[in-house]
């Protein structure tokens, strides 16, 4: 079946502009996660959604970052007033449920470059 998909695959933007990154999880998966992969920082957790519960936003680095998940499926990560340090690969993952042993399946990522 189809895996996690993300769009766009690459995004180049100018400092100060807003960007939106999209994630389509695996059909039927109730949990959705966003991570950021940057040089020197490795992979860091950003935000997590589970069903209709309030999202865990504890990994968002600043209030310029926000995410929503509509209808329990597609998610959008928004970065406002982008800065050069936001340049990274943004990875989305989904799992069947949010339980400790559940495997998270990752999308191909969106490579963001802020000039």
């Amino acid at each position: 079946g189809a895996g996690v998909s993300q769009s766009p695959s690459n995004k180049v933007t100018e400092k100060g502009k807003d960007v939106e990154l999209r994630c389509d999880p695996i059909s039927g998966h109730t949990a959705l996660y966003w991570y950021r992969q940057s040089l020197g920082q490795g992979l860091e957790f950003l935000i997590y959604f589970q069903g209709n519960s309030a999202p865990d936003k504890s990994g968002l680095p600043s209030d310029r970052f926000s995410a929503e998940r509509t209808g329990g499926s597609v998610s959008t990560l928004t970065i406002q007033r982008t800065q050069q340090e936001d340049s990274a690969v943004y990875l989305c993952a989904s799992s069947l449920v949010a339980a400790g042993g559940e495997t998270q399946y990752f999308g191909p990522g969106t490579r963001l470059l802020v000039l």
Binding site: G42, L43, F45, D56, G100, G101, T103, F106, G107
Partner: protein, 115 residues
């Protein structure tokens, strides 16, 4: 807090030789441990996980990993490396218990298999 250490930046191995990628973790309570592989310009691909039970876990593409509770380690192994195994490998841990749904990743190990 949960954390993962992957002490080596790069692992070089000759094709046909055994491959080992080291991982140690720190977590409160019982750990859930995962290995992922990342090929260039691709997302993370799940290899295997330890939840409970046998300490030796077998996964995709001939990889296996051994959970050692006393040494808090979860080293990835493959008896005979292939050139196609050259990639970036990530170890990740998730603490057991309700409410903890994020993965903590190590910084990754670049594996280079030399023909």
């Amino acid at each position: 807090a949960q954390s993962v250490a992957q002490p080596e930046d790069q692992v070089n191995v000759a094709e046909g030789n055994p491959l080992t990628v080291k991982c140690t973790y720190s977590v409160s309570g019982n750990p859930y441990l995962f290995w992922y592989v990342q090929y260039p310009n691709r997302g993370l691909q799940f290899l295997l996980k330890y939840i409970t039970g046998d300490n030796l876990v077998k996964g995709s593409y001939g990889f296996e990993a051994e959970f050692n509770k006393s040494q808090t380690s979860f080293h990835l192994k493959k008896p005979s490396a292939l050139v196609s195994d050259s990639a970036l490998y990530f170890c990740a841990v998730r603490a057991g218990g309700k409410g903890n749904n994020r993965l903590a990743f190590g910084k990754g190990n670049q594996v280079v298999v030399i023909p």
